[in-house]
């Protein structure tokens, strides 16, 4: 079983290729890998419950650990109660810690 940190920096409204990232994360999880997705920058936008893309994020969270960068959320005025189920706010140091875990592959999209 492998370990992955997928850092997603784009949102599906801006980039259709984000769908590929979500699919890859789910595919890796289906293959019994441990997957964490860290949403940063505009990638936190679809993590709002009210977003029309929140279903995609929720599906992702059903298979992988999904974290949202606390600064990106705050910068966009998104509060914790607005987050879709399964997404947790996390600080940027989490990226450092996970990246430096032995054997973890880090992919930034």
């Amino acid at each position: 079983m492998g370990k992955y940190l997928l850092i997603e920096s784009r949102d599906p409204f801006d980039s259709a290729d984000v769908r590929n990232s979500y699919e890859l994360a789910q595919g890796l999880a289906d293959d019994a890998n441990e997957v964490t997705v860290f949403l940063v920058q505009n990638a936190v936008l679809p993590a709002r419950k009210a977003s029309s893309a929140s279903g995609q994020v929720q599906d992702l969270a059903s298979k992988a650990t999904v974290l949202a960068d606390d600064f990106s959320l705050r910068e966009r005025g998104i509060t914790g109660d607005e987050l879709v189920k399964g997404v947790t706010s996390a600080e940027i140091g989490t990226v450092v810690d996970l990246s430096l875990e032995d054997g973890r592959k880090v992919i930034w999209h």
Binding site: G2, Y4, G27, L28, K105, V106, W108, H109
Partner: protein
């Protein structure tokens, strides 16, 4: 020596400014310096495999771009150098990119096969 998968998605970013696709160039240099690299072309970059791409003719005033990038040749050079080049078949299909016009030597994989492909690499980098 770690095995590296370099994923190229962005395409045709700097035709005027650069002599090559900068990521294909960098990966060629990484290979020259001993790194074990493999290329995966996806999204718009699957178009890099099409034979006959032509960026000639850029001229502004008296300044002329005499040597624009020749992307299909750059990819062919990488393959000839022993760099495996993959592309995502569905990305090509969605874009109507005709595989019949592809250069020789690139290997198509499906989206479903991607997680398995990643297993073989220590580093997986989007550029």
């Amino acid at each position: 020596m770690p095995k590296v998968l370099s994923i190229v998605e962005s395409a045709y970013r700097a035709t005027l400014e650069e002599q090559d696709d900068t990521i294909l160039w960098l990966n060629h240099m990484l290979k020259n310096n001993g790194l074990d690299v493999t290329i995966l072309l996806r999204a718009n970059a699957v178009n890099y495999l099409v034979k006959g791409q032509d960026a000639t003719g850029l001229k502004f005033g008296t300044a002329e771009l005499k040597h624009p990038p020749v992307i299909d040749k750059d990819v062919a050079d990488l393959i000839e150098k022993g760099v495996p080049v993959y592309y995502v078949k569905e990305d090509a299909d969605e874009r109507g990119v005709p595989e019949s016009k592809f250069i020789e030597g690139a290997k198509g994989i499906s989206r479903k096969e991607l997680p398995g492909l990643l297993e073989g690499f220590e580093h997986v980098w989007h550029w």
